[in-house]
């Protein structure tokens, strides 16, 4: 096995992947009959585990939704007795019952293996020092990366979220080479470095950045790479699928390989639930085929993406997901138009005159719904030229209107005036009247 690969499954051909998938799908479906939830659901439509004979039979199985997880809160979907489980992770539950995912000891080992495989793929080795700026605890980006990085054998620095000055001190003192951070926090780290007179290229050993959890544009990635002098790789995960380690960019930085020995991936039209062809955007649907405690069959993730057609130059045949286009539930509907915040970000990040923070506010004025986009002027750009500011504002407005088909009110604000979040950045505020 080439040292490029962490597991032999990484190098599998399509036919090897699909053979393993079928074997694991059959085993998973049989195992799911130990789950009260899936047993009842299969019985209700007269489906039996032995009816699943090919991968195409997957579409005979009903979808599992977040609502199903809420309705069966906390342990209703489990396929093993609780005594066999060793950990649970739970979502925040801000919009209803929280969701719970249970793990057996083997599940945790497999999860750590997937994360280690991702990190190995982008060049992390036991000599590296890995600092994780994620919140620990229930948020899976903390423990998920912790166990994966430890399995790989790196020296891990579980710095956890916040306290930016301390993060920077650790970077310096421990010669951190790999960092996991959400994109908005990566930008914040750079800001504080500048304030502290730290030049990341001169003073630090950072080489690799793992960014995920927030949808971000290619331009944002390039900016962050340029600021910190690192290679930044996109990570995709979700607590329902363990957490990080579901899909990850290889060194080609062109799409995220989804580990098909762990998951069967489908992309469906969110309205009709029919599959869409490779290359077209739809909702990501995942079936776990390598999990004991709580397998999920055809889980609707709400994440919008597409499968990138064609082969990857890295030699892996695991399919590639395009960067996330947003979530079907993040979508803003304004005056009947569907808008994703990432569309706005893509436009804004093309303006060198702007800093990385922005805030979208939806509000009702005189019974008309409208959108205000506040953008921070970059520190370097401001000069004494009022006409230039007006031209900039007009140009941003024009480009946004071309993209989202609605004319937003663009407001230039001074650098640093949009409140910084140390967690996930709040990009959209909806102050519209509710009718």
């Amino acid at each position: 096995m080439s040292t490029e690969f962490y597991n032999p499954e990484e190098a599998y051909s399509r036919s090897e992947i699909e053979a393993l998938q079928l074997e694991r799908l059959k085993a998973t479906v049989s195992h799911c009959m130990n789950s009260g939830f899936y047993k009842a659901r299969f019985d209700s439509i007269g489906l039996r585990p032995q009816d699943i004979r090919t991968l195409d039979d997957l579409n005979r199985i009903p979808f599992t939704t977040k609502q199903d997880l809420r309705d069966t809160y906390p342990f209703g979907i489990a396929s093993v007795p609780l005594k066999d489980c060793t950990r649970l992770h739970s979502s925040s539950g801000t919009t209803g019952n929280p969701t719970v995912i249970l793990h057996t000891k083997k599940d945790l080992e497999q999860w750590a293996n997937a994360v280690a495989r991702c990190l190995w793929m982008v060049g992390c080795r036991p000599e590296d020092v890995f600092q994780n700026t994620s919140g620990y605890g229930m948020f899976t980006g903390g423990l998920g990366f912790q166990y994966g990085a430890e399995k790989l054998g790196m020296l891990t620095v579980p710095a956890a979220a916040g306290n930016t000055l301390r993060q920077l001190k650790f970077f310096k003192d421990f010669r951190t080479t790999v960092v996991h951070a959400i994109p908005s926090y990566a930008a914040r780290l750079y800001e504080v470095m500048c304030e502290q007179g730290i030049d990341p290229r001169r003073d630090l050993a950072l080489r690799t950045l793992v960014i995920g959890a927030e949808p971000h544009s290619e331009d944002t990635r390039r900016r962050i790479e340029e600021m910190l002098g690192v290679k930044a790789y996109n990570s995709f995960g979700m607590s329902e699928m363990c957490g990080p380690g579901v899909a990850f960019e290889c060194k080609e930085q062109n799409g995220l390989h989804i580990w098909e020995d762990y998951y069967i991936v489908e992309i469906v039209d969110p309205q009709t639930l029919e599959p869409v062809p490779d290359g077209e955007v739809g909702e990501l649907v995942l079936t776990t085929i390598n999990r004991e405690a709580m397998p999920l069959l055809r889980y609707r993730t709400r994440d919008l993406t597409r499968i990138l057609p064609g082969e990857c130059a890295c030699g892996r045949h695991h399919k590639r997901l395009d960067r996330m286009k947003g979530r079907s539930d993040d979508m803003i509907i304004l005056k009947g138009v569907n808008i994703f915040p990432i569309q706005i970000e893509q436009i804004l990040m093309q303006f060198q005159e702007l800093a990385t923070d922005y805030l979208i506010t939806l509000q009702t004025l005189d019974d008309n719904d409208g959108m205000t986009v506040e953008v921070e002027l970059s520190e370097r750009f401001f000069n004494d030229d009022y006409a230039a500011l007006q031209r900039l504002e007009k140009e941003i407005t024009r480009q946004l209107r071309d993209e989202i088909l609605i004319t937003p009110k663009v407001r230039l604000v001074p650098f640093g005036s949009i409140p910084k979040a140390e967690g996930k950045a709040v990009r959209v505020k909806d102050l519209r009247k509710q009718y």
Binding site: N383, D384, Y386, L389, L412, G416
Partner: protein, 142 residues
């Protein structure tokens, strides 16, 4: 020939102007002239003050969007019509004024302005014998 003006990017929000002026006050920096237009969302506050370089450092350190700009300060006799005469000279030379404000100081009128062609403006000032106020003299006039 030019003097330093502070240009501050100001959001139209209560408290932003006060913050800037207080910072200058704390450093004992005196305002000589200032102007701000009544725009809806944001504007540029332009300030002539004692110790402009120090003022620039203070505001920058406080995280305020500020820049130092070079502007012309032409001294005029305190007699009706002098401003018109001066500006006519520039107009005749095809030099546009980007912005202008004026004040009286020590019995003299002072015109502060920025043009679209600083080089040409310099030539005109010299050739037409207009009096410019050197930066160090502004504080003396106080």
């Amino acid at each position: 020939m030019t003097i330093h003006q502070l240009s501050v990017f100001i959001e139209n929000k209560s408290g932003t102007l006060v913050k800037v002026l207080k910072l200058l006050k704390e450093e004992g920096i005196q305002l000589i002239a200032s102007t701000i237009a009544d725009t809806a969302e944001y504007g540029i506050c332009r300030i002539i003050c004692s110790q402009p370089s120090k003022a620039f450092e203070v505001l920058k350190a406080a995280g305020i969007a500020v820049t130092l700009t070079e502007v012309f300060a032409v001294e005029l006799d305190d007699v009706p019509g002098r401003a018109a005469d001066a500006i006519e000279i520039f107009a005749n030379e095809g030099i546009s004024i980007a912005y202008l404000y004026s004040f009286l100081l020590g019995g003299k009128g002072v015109l502060i302005f920025r043009t679209d062609n600083a080089e040409k403006a310099r030539e005109v000032i010299v050739s037409r014998g207009l009096t410019v106020v050197p930066e160090k003299d502004l504080s003396k006039l106080l």
